[in-house]
């Protein structure tokens, strides 16, 4: 240790800017930290890509021939078009597990004491993580869209509509990372957060209109599927991408008739609800 540099003058830490601006800058600092970590542990990102790519290939070629989409007549490629929005939506919700595991890991390492003893905004540790996951989700979606295009998927209603569809998907993914954040704060290990983040996603994504039309389900499942927050985004994307067959009978349920609005409402409600709970839980772990 050299003594050539002078110690910084003893002053209180620069006054926190406080309020909203500080919570934005703190969250960005934390997002940067998480993105650097993701870059240095690329395995996680790569495995996150392989799984949805496998789904695209499996569903289009294995189930593709045997699932009939109403209104598509005998067009064999109709299911492939119909399917993609479902896989996109399922993929973005898998970010739940990553966010949960990351936060569970942070909470049980000494580093969290450093963050808690700093005059930083209280929600920033969580918001930073969810923002980093949003970036990862966006990256995954780009790769997935390319793979989907390779197997024949197209967006038929113009660039703006396509972008709007991807925007809704990102918002849904972001909303789900807040569910993951709450799970991560509740369980004791990252492994538990991963399984806790995934287990309920399977019924949620399968009892929906993501992979099969709801018309073929028993009527009580049909109701669940049509009001499922996940279905709203899937239908909105199919609409915006022009992926419904021309004569597809859209169900009468309100979210199915107004899918874009329903998707927005669901995502915002999920964010508000789970973010509030998660930040409160994070705070209660300290003074």
């Amino acid at each position: 240790m050299t003594t050539t540099t002078q110690p910084a003058p003893t002053t209180a830490a620069p006054r926190g800017r406080g309020g909203f601006l500080q919570s934005v800058t703190d969250s960005l600092v934390m997002a940067k930290r998480n993105l650097i970590r993701m870059m240095r542990i690329p395995e996680v990102v790569i495995f996150g890509l392989i799984q949805p790519i496998m789904f695209v290939v499996l569903f289009s070629y294995v189930f593709g021939g045997s699932i009939k989409v109403p209104g598509a007549g005998t067009d064999p490629s109709a299911y492939r078009e119909f399917l993609m929005a479902g896989i996109f939506a399922q993929t973005v919700t898998f970010a739940t597990a990553g966010a949960g595991a990351g936060i569970a890991e942070d909470m049980h390492k000494g580093l969290i004491d450093r963050f808690r003893s700093l005059p930083m905004s209280r929600g920033a540790v969580l918001t930073g993580r969810t923002l980093a996951d949003l970036v990862q989700t966006a990256l995954t979606l780009v790769v997935l869209a390319v793979v989907a295009a390779l197997v024949g998927w197209r967006a038929h209603d113009g660039v703006l509509n396509a972008l709007a569809g991807f925007g809704l998907l990102l918002l849904l993914g972001y909303a789900f990372t807040w569910i993951g954040a709450l799970i991560g704060l509740t369980v004791r290990t990252p492994e538990a957060a991963t399984s806790g983040g995934l287990i309920w996603l399977f019924p949620l994504t399968f009892i929906s209109v993501a992979f099969v039309p709801s018309q073929n389900m028993p009527s009580f499942l049909q109701h669940i599927a049509e009001w499922n927050p996940f279905s709203a985004t899937v239908v909105a994307c199919r609409d915006l991408f022009g992926n419904f067959p021309p004569n597809y009978p859209i169900p009468d349920a309100w979210p199915m008739q107004h899918p874009v609005l329903a998707s927005l409402i669901w995502s915002v409600v999920i964010i508000l609800f789970f973010r509030t709970l998660a930040v409160r839980k994070y705070r209660s772990a300290t003074v």
């Binding site: 540099t5 830490a13 600092v29 700093l118 003074v287």
Partner: protein, 336 residues
Amino acid sequence: MPGAIYAEGLVKTFGDVRALDGVDLDVPEGTVLGLLGPNGAGKTTAVRVLTTLLRPDSGTAVVAGIDVLKNPTAVRRSIGLSGQFAAVDEYLTGRENLQMVGQLYQMSGRDAKKRACELLDRFNLADAADRTAKTYSGGMRRRLDLAAALVVSPPVMFMDEPTTGLDPRNRQGLWEVIEELVAGGTTLLLTTQYLEEADRLAHDIAVVDHGKVIARGTSDQLKAQTGGERIEVVVHEREHIAPARGILERHQLGGTSQGGCTVEEHTRKLTVPVSGGAKLLAEVIRELDTAGIEIDDIGLRRPTLDDVFITLTGHAAEDEPELKADAKPGTEEAAK
């Protein structure tokens, strides 16, 4: 007016364990308090309460004039913490770690960068600055953590065993850093297992055991309380014990009447409490020599903080192994 760190009646229990059992502390501004105590005494728990990481069951704590329980956010602006276990992000480089902390203290990106550079130099981490902390040795992590605690030089600092795991040169270096900080007006609460460190850095020392402060004072006061200085003499002939005792008692602390000289017959060792240092020792040697008493060994012994520590906290440490020794055969029997 209460000091920069003030605590009254802090209690914190974890299940059956009373980690803090009514701790009172008062550290005047610009001074260093050394918190000593055996493992599990409650030192880390006290630090965690004072740095807003843990809510006590009862009691009050005021840091930098701000109530820790009522306004933790404001307290966080005025403190720096280096905890017992290094709190660094393993996947970030040393530089990135420090920049991140700077930015979370609301520094601009440029200031944070500059400060990170200074600290990396200061803590001998410049060569490893751009390696991830995962690749650091234990002592390097420790230093990175200390650097992170010093990013803004806040008015009140807490360091929980800051030099554990540091090599002697880096320990010396950290002591210098701490001395500079304190010269600049920083108030510091430091826990340590190295009594030499407390002796050198701390103005006041509080000894904690079982969640209570069992002794406090300056290092000298505590040493005096444990017995002050003594002269120890080993005489060559058994017959010389009595005359030697006469001479020693004439010089003992508080006059002849005290009868404070202790004698171990079989080792021919006499010990007497004194105050007068080397000068008195020389005089005693002359008198013993004049009286024709042959001495094998003579010395002036001052109690160290180790003596203080062991005297004050020794009982607990001696009792427990006995209990375990008793219990053990029983459990082995049961196991069969």
